[in-house]
Amino acid sequence: MKLDINGTAHEVDAAPDMPLLWALRDIVGLTGTKFGCGASLCGACTVHVDGQATRACVTPLASVAGRRITTIEGVAASELGRKVQAAWIAEDVPQCGYCQSGQIMSAVSLLAQKPHPSDAEIRSAMNGNLCRCGTYNRIHQAIRRAAEA
C-alpha cells in the first residue's frame, strides 16, 4: 500500500484494516505518534489526514492510502506547525511529554480552522486529548500564544 507521510511516499506491506498508528510506529518507524488507548479516547495518536486531526489508532490504512498524512515529525513543515511548536517551547508545556505530540497535532488543526479561537473553542477542541500530568492550562496558554503570534 502507498502511504504519503510527511511528504514522502512509503510503500507499506500491511493488511488494509491495520490502524494507521501501528503502521507508523512499527513498520515505518515514526514513533513520535503515541499509543495511549487504541480506542479514540485519549488523542495521543493524533495525526493529520489531509490537514484534519485524525485518531490514527482507529483509522484503517485502507482509508488513508494516497491521502496526505502528517505526523508530529513532519508538522514543522508548515509555518503554523512551527509557530505552535515554538509556543509550546516558550510556555515550557511538557511534563512527561507522552501526550504532547497528540496535543500539538490537535492544536495545529484547531488553529488551521480557527486562527483566533475563543477560550471555549480551545477547551472544546482540545477536550479529546488527555494529559495525565495535568499540563492543560499551559497547553491552553500555548495555543493562545500561537494564535497571537
Binding site: G38, A39, Q85, C96, G97, C99, R123, R132
Partner: protein
C-alpha cells in the same frame, strides 16, 4: 556510598557501561544514538560528569524522568557547581550501578518524592569535585598554583594572564587526578542556576516527537508481544489452543509464560489480533471471588473494632463536654494509568540480557530480570528510557512487567518488546489500596477536639515483598504506608488514638502518587473541617489555632488563604473549601472554589501554597503542584477501579476517566520562600485536593462526602 566520588576505577567502569548503553538525546543539539557513538572520546571525571575532548559535557542522571523534571533539576545543581552553561549539557540516563544507590537505601530507584531532597548535597559535591579536578589539571598544565585559577563557562581561567583552557582539553588529565575528599562548594549567594526557574532541558525533544519513551525503543529484528493474562488475579492457564492465533498474519510465536500466554508478532496490532484468537481455559485463582462492594462493607465493619494501636496519647475515653462526631470515609482501588501503557523490551545475547524500559526501580528490576533470565545481575543491563508517566506504577517490588517481558523474550531468537494495551494496564492490578477510615471526636468547651480516634482498614503494599522487613513495624505488624498522614496528625489534640487493621485481599496493590496520604488526608482534612463547622468556627482560623507547633503548616495555610481571598464574598452558587497536609517532608495547603453544574461538582479555581524548603527550580515546583492537583482531582471526582466476581470492571479511559481539558480548574501555586534543605515536591500536592473540594462542596450544600470518588455523593445546589 560514603565518598561521593567513588574510586576512579569504578567511574571508568560506569563511564564505559554508559557509553555502550542507550543514550537519550535531550538537550540541544539533540544527541541521537548514532551521534553518541560518533562523538569524540568522553572522559568520565566522576560518576555524574563526562567531558568530551570537544568540550561537550554529559551529565549522568540516575533518577528516572517521568515528567517531574528531575533531569533538569539534577543538571541545574551539577552545572552550577561545575560551572558549565546549562544550555550546552547533554543529559544521559545513568546505568545501574551501586554508585547510584539512594543515600538511604541499597537500591537505585526513583520515588517517594526524594530524588532532589536525598541528592542535593551529593550533586553539589559531585559537581564541585569535578570542577576542582579540572582546575587542578589546568594548574599542572600552566604551571601555576590552583589558587590563581577560576572556573567559568566550561573553562578554567588564569586571571593574571588571561589564559583560558577549555574543559575538553583538560578532561583526560583531570580524570587521572585523585578526587578531592572535601570539595569547596559555591556560596548560595553566587548561585546562577539553583533556585532559578530555568526552562526544562527535555522540552524541545518532547515537542518535536523525538524524545524516546520505552515504547519507542526499536532494536534490530525486534518483534512485539502482548500477553493474555488470567481474567481474575492469581488465575492460570488450564488449557490452551493457539492454532487460530498462529494463523494470524504477522504472528511469529505463541509462548506460555508464568503470567499467561504471549503472542509475538512483527507488529503490535498483529500481536493483539493473535491474542484475540487464542482459546484459553483459565483456572480461577485466589482472586476469583473478589467483590469490591463486599470488601467495602467488610472493611467498614472491621473499622468498628479497635485494631492495632499506632499512636495513643491522653485518654480518648475521656469525652470532651461538647458535641461528639463520627464519620466513615471509604476510598476505592485506583489505577495509575500513566499515558504511556507499560512496556519492556528485552534482548538476549551470549551471556547478557539487555532490558529497555521506563522503570523507577532499576536495581530491583535488574535482580528480577536476572533471576528469570538465569543470569547474574551484572549480566543484565537495564537501560532507563523516558517514562510517559510513572506515578508509582513503574516502581514495583514484584517487577511484574519486567519479569514477564524477560520470560517472554527468553529463548526467542530476536529481541522482544512486550506491550500492554490500555485495557491490560487498567486491569493488570497493582492498584492504590481500597481503604476505610473511621474517625470519631468529641469537642471541648472551646470547640476544639478534646479527643480524636482514627481507625484504618487497608491492605499492606509491601507485605510479601522484599520491602516487608524494611517497612513493616514488627511491633504493630502494620505497614507505614497504611497510616502515614494519620499517625502524624499535626493538630494539637490532647487525646488521640490511631489504629489500623491489615486486610488480606488477593488484589495486587502498590504505591500511587502520595501513597497512604491519598486516603488519610481525605479523612483527616474532611473530619477536622467538620469539627470546625460543627463548632461554628471558620475552617482556616480553626486549623490555625490547632497548628501552633507546626510552622510550615501555618505558613502555607496563611499564604493559600490570603492568595485565594479566603473570607471574601463569592457569587451565589459558589463556595470555597480548604485543606492542608504534610507529606514527603513538605506541606501543601489548597483552597478550592466550586459550584454545581447540573448537580455535578465543578472546580473553578485552586490556589495552592507549598513549603518544600529550597525550591531548586521554582517553575518546576509550581508545575508539579499543578500536576498533582490535576492527578488528585481526577481521582477525587471519578477515579475508581471496582471488581465483581474477581473481574475488574473498568477497561479504558471511557470508564476510568481522567480529568479532561474542559474540567481543569485555574491553578495558582505559591511557594513559601526558604533556604532550608529541599524536601519532596512530586507528590505532596496530590492528597490535598480531594478534601479541599469535598470541604468546599460541604460549604456550598451542607452535604459531607463520605466516599470517593465524589460522583457517588448526591449534592443539591442551595436555593437561589
Amino acid at each position: 556510598m560514603n565518598t561521593l566520588v567513588a574510586s576512579r576505577r569504578s567511574f571508568l567502569k560506569v563511564g564505559a557501561a554508559a557509553a555502550g548503553g542507550l543514550v537519550i538525546g535531550l538537550a540541544l543539539p539533540v544527541r541521537t544514538r548514532a551521534a553518541a557513538t560518533a562523538a569524540p572520546a568522553d572522559t568520565a571525571i566522576n560518576a555524574y560528569v563526562r567531558v568530551a575532548t570537544d568540550g561537550r559535557v554529559t551529565l549522568l542522571v540516575p533518577k528516572s524522568e517521568m515528567g517531574q523534571g528531575i533531569y533538569t533539576g539534577f543538571a541545574q545543581v551539577l552545572a552550577e557547581e561545575l560551572e558549565v552553561p546549562l544550555a550546552t549539557v547533554v543529559i544521559e540516563a545513568a546505568p545501574v550501578a551501586a554508585v547510584y544507590n539512594a543515600s538511604f537505601a541499597p537500591i537505585q530507584f526513583t520515588g517517594g518524592s526524594m530524588s532532589m531532597s536525598s541528592s542535593f548535597e551529593l550533586l553539589r559535591r559531585a559537581g564541585a569535585a569535578a570542577r576542582s579536578m579540572l582546575v587542578s589539571a589546568a594548574a599542572a598544565e600552566l604551571g601555576v598554583p590552583a589558587s590563581t585559577l577560576s572556573a567559568a563557562d566550561g573553562h578554567v581561567v588564569h586571571g593574571a594572564s588571561g589564559r583560558r583552557l577549555a574543559y575538553g582539553a583538560l578532561a583526560v588529565r583531570a580524570a587521572a587526578l585523585p578526587a578531592p575528599a572535601d570539595p569547596v562548594l559555591k556560596s548560595p549567594a553566587d548561585w546562577k542556576l539553583i533556585g532559578k526557574a530555568v526552562p526544562r532541558l527535555d522540552t524541545r525533544a518532547k515537542v518535536e516527537g523525538s524524545a524516546e519513551f520505552g515504547l519507542d525503543v526499536r532494536l534490530p529484528g525486534m518483534v512485539y508481544a502482548v500477553v493474555a493474562r488470567a481474567p481474575t488475579f492469581g488465575g492460570s492457564v488450564a488449557k490452551l489452543d493457539a492454532s487460530a492465533a498462529k494463523a494470524v498474519p504477522g504472528v511469529v510465536a505463541v509462548r506460555e509464560v508464568p503470567s499467561g500466554v504471549a503472542v509475538l508478532a512483527t507488529n503490535t496490532w498483529a500481536a493483539t489480533r493473535g491474542r484475540a484468537a487464542l482459546r484459553i481455559d483459565w483456572t480461577p485463582g485466589a482472586g476469583a471471588g473478589v467483590s469490591t462492594t463486599r470488601l467495602a462493607a467488610e472493611f467498614a465493619a472491621r473499622a468498628r473494632e479497635p485494631g492495632t494501636v499506632v499512636v495513643e496519647r491522653g485518654d480518648v475515653g475521656q469525652a470532651g463536654p461538647g458535641r461528639a462526631l463520627e464519620a466513615d470515609f471509604a476510598t476505592p482501588y485506583l489505577a495509575h494509568a500513566p499515558m504511556e501503557p507499560l512496556n519492556c523490551a528485552v534482548a538476549f545475547a551470549d551471556g547478557r540480557c539487555d532490558v529497555y524500559t521506563g522503570t523507577q526501580f532499576q536495581t530491583v528490576d535488574r535482580a528480577a530480570a536476572a533471576a528469570v533470565a538465569g543470569l547474574a545481575p551484572e549480566q543484565v543491563h537495564v537501560h532507563t528510557t523516558l517514562l510517559g508517566g510513572g506515578f508509582g506504577r513503574r516502581a514495583n517490588p514484584s517487577s511484574d512487567f519486567v519479569r514477564e517481558a524477560v520470560a517472554v523474550a527468553k529463548g526467542h531468537p530476536t529481541p522482544v518488546m512486550t506491550v500492554w494495551t490500555r485495557e491490560d494496564d487498567l486491569q493488570g492490578g497493582y492498584y492504590r489500596p481500597l481503604s476505610h477510615d473511621r474517625l470519631t471526636a468529641t469537642l471541648g468547651t472551646d470547640g476544639h477536639p478534646a479527643t480524636w480516634t482514627h481507625t484504618i482498614v487497608s491492605q499492606s503494599i509491601v507485605a510479601g515483598t522484599p520491602f516487608e522487613k524494611m517497612m513493616i513495624d514488627p511491633k504493630t505488624g502494620l505497614d507505614a504506608t497504611q497510616h502515614e498522614g494519620a499517625s502524624d496528625l499535626p493538630y494539637a489534640i490532647p487525646s488521640v488514638r490511631v489504629a489500623g487493621h491489615t486486610a488480606k485481599v488477593p488484589v495486587p496493590v502498590l504505591w500511587w502518587r502520595s501513597v497512604g496520604h491519598t486516603h488519610t488526608a481525605f479523612a483527616v482534612e474532611s473530619f477536622i473541617d467538620e469539627c470546625a463547622t460543627t463548632a461554628r468556627q471558620d475552617p482556616v482560623a480553626y486549623r490555625t489555632a490547632l497548628l501552633g507547633a507546626e510552622p510550615r503548616h501555618l505558613a502555607v495555610l496563611k499564604l493559600a488563604a490570603e492568595k485565594a481571598g479566603w473570607g471574601t464574598p463569592l457569587p451565589h452558587g459558589r463556595a470555597r473549601g480548604v485543606a492542608v497536609h504534610a507529606s514527603f517532608g513538605s506541606v501543601v495547603a489548597e483552597v478550592a472554589e466550586v459550584s454545581l453544574v447540573d448537580g455535578r461538582p465543578k472546580v473553578h479555581r485552586v490556589v495552592a501554597a507549598i513549603h518544600c524548603g529550597l525550591a531548586v527550580n521554582p517553575g518546576q515546583v509550581a508545575y508539579q503542584v499543578e500536576s498533582a492537583i490535576c492527578f488528585g482531582l481526577s481521582a477525587a471526582l471519578y477515579g475508581e477501579i471496582t471488581l465483581e466476581d474477581g473481574r475488574v470492571q473498568q477497561s479504558n479511559f471511557g470508564d476510568y476517566a481522567p480529568l479532561r481539558h474542559e474540567e481543569m480548574p485555574a491553578v495558582e501555586v505559591h511557594i513559601v520562600p526558604s533556604s532550608a534543605a529541599p524536601t519532596g515536591v512530586g507528590e505532596p500536592g496530590t492528597p490535598v485536593i480531594a478534601p479541599a473540594v469535598a470541604n468546599a462542596l460541604a460549604a456550598l450544600t451542607g452535604v459531607r462526602a463520605r466516599r470517593l470518588p465524589l460522583a457517588h455523593t448526591a449534592f443539591t445546589a442551595p436555593p437561589a
